[in-house]
Amino acid sequence: MADPLSCKETTWLVSEARERALSSEERQNLAEHIATCTFCQGASRQFEVLFKEIDNYLGNSRSEKAAQK
């Protein structure tokens, strides 16, 4: 078992997930931390909104994919 993540490490993985697919261990650690940390629940929700609106604003291919769904 890896050490539990800190909130700070959680933000790093949330950013990394935009660049690459996280490993299953990283995904699990991330999910476990967020499940138990209300601060990170709020923060990851903020990042979700931010990323979606960045895509919409820039009109990049991610926003096109989202629009097709």
């Binding site: 700070k8 950013s15 660049e19 209300t38 709020g42 960045i54 919409n56 009109g59």
Partner: protein, 196 residues
């Protein structure tokens, strides 16, 4: 009909000139080149006015035109090799590559110091425009190198390896620049976006 459409596109597009110029300047690092790219984008928009589909937003359409212009210019530059060199040293403070600037948000164990309001996506057009206004202002305030790397990735959609080559930085440095951009944008929006 056609002339009228061109005229209205020209007028509306002119409102986006300042942001188009800023986006071009971040990438091209040269005021004349950025002005040219902006001008050409606005002209192309008027020229192609009939192909503009009202269901997409005028801003994203203009960004798409400018994006192709910048990618073209970058391609020419890397052929002539002039621009491939890393930026002058004065633009790359060591701070650029540290994540430490955000340590103040966490305690010594790396825990957030305060609760985070769970945002919801803007629902109406007016709410979205309000969000975009703050996002623009926040992007403009990013350090030059950070915003350049960030927009190369998120807007120009270059591969990380291409960005590293163009900026003359390592892959690790790029990941830190992108992390910093995202952390800074979240914080800036949290402070300045008036949620309804």
């Amino acid at each position: 009909m056609d002339a009228q459409l061109r005229k209205s596109i020209a007028e509306e597009a002119a409102e986006y000139r300042p942001m188009l110029y800023r986006m071009a300047l971040i990438q091209l690092k040269n005021a004349d080149a950025a002005e040219d790219a902006t001008q050409e984008t606005l002209l192309a928009a008027v020229e192609k006015a009939v192909t503009f589909e009202a269901r997409s937003s005028l801003r994203t359409w203009l960004f798409a035109i400018l994006r192709f212009k910048i990618l073209d210019i970058m391609r020419d530059q890397s052929k002539s090799r002039k621009f491939n060199s890393p930026l002058p040293t004065d633009d790359r403070g060591i701070d650029d590559y540290e994540t430490g600037a955000f340590d103040v948000l966490f305690d010594t164990n790396g825990c957030w110091l305060d609760a985070k309001d769970p945002w919801t996506n803007p629902q109406t057009v007016a709410e979205q425009e309000a969000f975009f206004k703050v996002l623009e202002a926040c992007m403009t305030r990013l350090p030059a190198r950070t915003s350049r790397a960030f927009l190369m990735r998120e807007w120009l959609e270059l591969e990380p390896s291409e960005i590293c080559a163009k900026l003359g930085i390592s892959h690790g440095n790029l990941r830190i620049l992108l992390y910093r951009a995202r952390m800074q944008l979240r914080l800036c929006l949290d402070l300045n976006w008036e949620r309804t």
